[in-house]
Symmetry: D4
């Protein structure tokens, strides 16, 4: 309900078209609906082919199916993250059109194509092969919001030539997502090579002093490359959604 | 030096215009210069009125003056972060043109105006008044790279109406920097209100369970608003540089 | 045994009605019984329909049944917390009248109704759906001590309108229990909206920087809303018992 | 602005007393003011002689004086917490009527008496003498909101007789605030002795494994006495404000 | 080999009774044997009926049987700690005379009785019923070294009367072992009640802020009762061996 | 007041020698005095020349003098721990007979000699020279309670011969206090060399990974030598009081 | 490609032997290949019989077989670390020539012997028997790179004579790898006994305060023996590779 | 004293050249001296011009002077680490020949030149300028033990070209010491570029998530470059002594 609606309502109160009681009722919900405007704007954009996203961890297959069905009824696409293979099997059985990526541990039902966007590719870089599941979660999320992922996998800093040989790809990217576990050094090197936004994703890869991803997390937060930003451990989804925010006015 | 330059050099070697020795000399530096391309591109952009930035903490006034003089000789502006008042006094005495912001604890020498940029304003939001020094560090850095800060201070979530009454400002922003200590809840609320990129800056404000900023840091990393990104504790500078990356192709 | 009892005993010693030996015996236990008075008072209140509570975690079904049977023999109700479904099945088979809530993971045998109480409702609020099991543990405990829970679920701060649309319920509450994982921001917002006591319950919902509930815990302890109190991670039971203390003189 | 105001405004629009434009302007701020209702209610109560509270730590004497003057202009009392003696001296010099408690490190200007309240006394208990400054911060805050503190100091559990000899005082209390550093055992013992609400305040007293108050904090959160609630380390203020919430409908 | 032995050996070298070569051989091992004296003295004491102790965790049943057989061949008793029921079954099948305590998770083969000792009883106190397995590990170890355990279980500080009603037992003890999880408050209270050595054993009982036993550990290390000593989390064995050291000259 | 006293009081009530009122008064304090028995026994022992001990840290010189004067009035000795030199000077000026050890940072007023005790010496061992202040705190406390310290300083494990050359001293000790910072390895080696009780004291000596004493603390708690017990970081006082408990029935 | 190659290439361009296009192509890869030189040198050395190493943890048997087959095709040996028995069985079935060490949890296919090396033996020392799996991982890696391991197992510091009796072996070693869990004291003692490089490996052996290996890690980093270096928890492989670097110019 | 010495002593006892008493005296010290052999060998090497090293932190100038004088009397050189400027001034005044490096915070008295050594240079690399003091501590220690440092400063990974342009220096080094704070990424990159031993030194440079050096420490321990070893935070001295061990048989 924007100011024009309120004005119109007031005009109709003045003209007697609407009783005071009924106007009061309409205005009563105003505070929350008005605040809701932002959300609604946001949701409207999302509804244009962008899926609703369900965080699958800690939910039963039945719960996921039920939530997905509700969303699908509204005509939107659905993306589900963090679902293990056995859970995925049961969802597949119960939810028509559901397709699962075992690498990304995500699944989706896409009734219509993701929106066309003008933004350049989003480079998704990993330090090692063990970081790939997190990278694929980012990739699937990017695809779902209409962005174009560009994979650059297994280019950790201990073999610098692997990374440098891909520098063309890096420089082409509108946003760079850098995924690394263990010492998490890769975003610092990449941050020095590109001028685009760098979103660092620490992973829980490694043992002992890797602290389940916290060493990579802290490492990325103290990166000597300025302007690197960080998301939660193993959150490929979070990185993709951050890229989505950064490229929002470019094609969506 | 890009491939076309190398091709041209080789042509001139073949044609005898350039001797082998002199071509060798030119190529010798190639590996590093080529890698340097990104950096050079980046630096070139920066040289267009954007200051070089000196991290002042742990450096003596003499060291800061010496480094600043070197940069100024190349015609660039200089921004110095994290300098305490007493240190600033000594720099002011020794470095002509140096002006100091005691709130932001930053100083600068700006020989020429920052570059014109097309990007919208960058909202700089704080939860409390104690977060303002970090906010001002962000503001000074934004100004130095040619971006336009829009201050929204002291709008913590315990008094929600303060934040909501400023929602127009939030929605207008190209990027939103949210600065909060203690429980660090503000980015979650802001992330739900705007669709733009949200850069969260935890501060060391608070005591006991605030853990010197780590509670706010972890809080922001686990924000229930998707796509929020985070920088190091008290790093107003880092947040501004991240905004700079995000808005790089819009006016610079 | 209060001073009047001791005085009476002494009078009876003086008059010879009671021998020194038998008086000595009676007095011997005095220190502990006197201390026990508080406990006994407390227990007396509890016996008026309030169940004894068994912490089920780490106990075998056999142990739980045996303890429950002992309590039931004294005419009290029994509430058992933290019992997994498979354990609950075995208890159900062995303990007549036992009913189990799989959501709350609690079970009970209620021989008689909980006491009537005059206190207003206790709002039980959750940030997300994953926090509901902890909320239901609180609800079951509240019901067991005769308080009236008022559920407000899934109103996390990233979608502020969800919370604000329920503000009437919040303001009606005599005590508000706020349950949240991840960044634990909800109690700060609720604490700013209501004047009633706010009991914050951090949950272990979330991953990575959520630190298994410690980020929410520390966040709640440093809430910018003054007067918010906190209980242990995932302790819906603890929050309900705290509400019970706060409303003790209102109907029990 | 409550529903009656809106209804009245609408009536006046209908009758033509108020133009649509001017009504629109009044309604425009509605969302935030309406949300503000809770705060306003709360503030109204506070204005009845209850002081506004300034967190003094990290503020200059000049800032504190300026904020205090603004509050005093509205006729309210002012309480300032966490001010060191030297800072207090400068405030005393600049703020007429300011009186300072060096033990509590709080100061106040009380133009009118705190409100009369019906609630029983709030026991303020400390384990050792080093916890007294935190206790006095609680005491000063309780007095400021019109509650009656009842001091029970230096009754740590290693000399149980000290605590037990004061049990009469404990049982009389409407709320019990228990303040302890080191191992923080006192709330568990007190929680077993009284049925009233127990608010535990960990202090940073102790060294080594006391972890600057975190051992006491965690100890209190895992208390074997059920229904004990906890506030931040060294937060005597927080505990008093929690007591204020709990006793709000009893005399204010 | 003490100085008298060396002197005698040298005399025999001088007199020619022993060749230089053979004396050299004897002296060669001297450094280690001399150091070994302490160990040997110690071992000698232990061999007088005291079992060798095998830490069972992380060893296969086969390994445990093999090591036990070697020890038994030398005529000593054997105690095995930290063996789960299924592992115990396989050991029982393969090691004649092996008897297992499922509560203590220890097993033993005792060919001869433990030595007679003059020391008074060792009180083994627990805060809750969940601490009993650790207590029983201490009990079994005490019995194995010839000491007399005196169980005082489930006397946590939230119900002080339970502990105080057992104070006679506490005061009789030569050494007191106090076992508690969660907030670990019990040793502070016991340390104030008795003058004997108090050995505190933190247990991993509890959840959330109990930190897997570290809260109890730190709590016990900062006990306000002076002279309390602490062993590792869940180490009933360590506490019993400490008691053994303390009472060594009293009956062994 | 032990049972005989109560019986006698009752006899006197029966015979009329004591009125009921006056008996009631006497019994009124019974609960706490009876619990106090242990404490009183303990205090009685302490009064036999053993000083009361004041923890000096965080107390002003004036407070320390006042407390000391109160104790001295009862004829007891006084020991004050953790007082820095400047504070000690002011105490010396105000408290007649006060003598200060700058190494141990303790001071005392000893009106009469410490009690004679039969117990053997208590070895006080340090790994390095930086651990000596903590060792001297232990030494001063041992002397105050009538025990005989035997210093073995600077025998860290990196130069094993230093320790082994003192092994005679170690074996003679009734109790061994082992003080070490950094990696805290010394108690493990000493625990393997002696059969007496080993009390390990971690110190905050070291930097970086020494974690302010926590590495030594954890190291000592996980010592591979069985039966080693541990006190808080830097607590020479705590170790001496533990030795006092262990040797209590030997000469006091 | 070193400067001589570039010069030669340029000469051939000048002489027309090589076209500009083909020279360009060769130079194009220069930056990365030049950087690759180190790696290539390193790889060349490794190819002389030294195996490529696959980190087996987190990889499926199929992935390991596929990677191994690729390496074997190039004529190199393969070593796989961190493979559990059941995984090893499936690899053995699918990869001809694969032999598995269940103790070290490593497997290998060695087509040709490891290179001859001149370096002295590498002592591999453990504190306890539980550390042996990590030691064997080091041993297998040492053998794979052509170094000669010398096992010294179960010589923890609580029984010093065990270590001292093996001192001859220690002193003979070119490098000493010391492996210990729990308090991690062994490297300090060994570092004082030998002058050779000491590589400390903390293990996750122990419970409670052992912190899953972090106590041993921090202990080793703060060793009082100077010049001790440390690798990650449980990284027998890392220690062996460090020894390989240290002895690289001695026989390879 | 090695076996030949003992044999000779025994021969002389047999022949009567040496009395039993005097032989006994000589043998008495054997255990410790024999263990001391390693130390003595080591010390002998050190005495050949290598200084004894005093850890200056926590020692008074007077103590340092006294220890230094004792060492100098034996003809050895002295190196003192971790001395602040003001302390150094007082040592300079009291200790003839003492020269101080304010950058390295070390001082020395070198009566004679360090020994000639054959080992190649030791590269000392830093990520930033703030790491230089730690680097210089390493340099001074290397010089003191006769090794040749080769400085490569300020080559952090965010500007990769700086490091790569110095790769010739890196490859020439016999050992590489890599010093970095913040995210500690440099050793991973260097470890991939060189085959020599890499000793990583984390520094406490950085703030917030840098955790006072622990992020760099953990980062280095989990380096993706194999065979990198680590020393304590800020321990330039430790790294140099490790290099000394690695190069011991090459020129000393």
């Amino acid at each position: 309900m924007d100011p024009r609606d309120v004005r119109e309502l007031l005009e109709r109160v003045r003209s007697g078209d609407v009783t005071v009681e009924s106007a009061l009722e309409g205005l009563q919900e105003l505070p929350f609906r008005d605040i809701g405007v932002a959300a609604v704007d946001h949701h409207r954009a999302l509804r244009q082919g962008v899926p609703e996203i369900i965080f699958g961890q800690g939910k039963t297959p039945e719960q996921i199916i039920r939530i997905a069905e509700e969303i699908l009824r509204t005509g939107q696409n659905v993306l589900v993250t963090r679902i293990e293979p056995e859970k995925a099997e049961r969802i597949t059985a119960g939810l028509p059109g559901f397709s699962y990526s075992s690498l990304a541990r995500t699944g989706k039902v896409a009734h219509r194509p993701a929106p066309e966007r003008l933004a350049g590719p989003v480079a998704v870089i990993t330090a090692g092969t063990s970081d790939i599941p997190i990278a694929e979660e980012a990739v699937e999320t990017l695809l779902a919001v209409g962005l174009q992922p560009d994979r650059v996998y297994d280019v950790g800093v201990a073999g610098l030539h692997r990374l440098l040989s891909r520098s063309e790809q890096l420089r082409r990217a509108a946003v760079v997502i850098v995924i690394a576990g263990m010492e998490g050094a890769l975003p610092s090197v990449v941050g020095g090579l590109v001028a685009a936004p760098v979103i660092a994703v620490p992973t829980s890869v490694g043992y002992g002093a890797a602290l389940g991803g916290f060493t990579a997390l802290f490492s990325m937060l103290t990166s000597c490359a300025s302007g690197v930003v960080v998301v939660n451990i193993d959150s490929g989804f979070g990185a993709a959604m951050a890229a989505h925010r950064m490229l929002l006015d470019r094609g969506q």
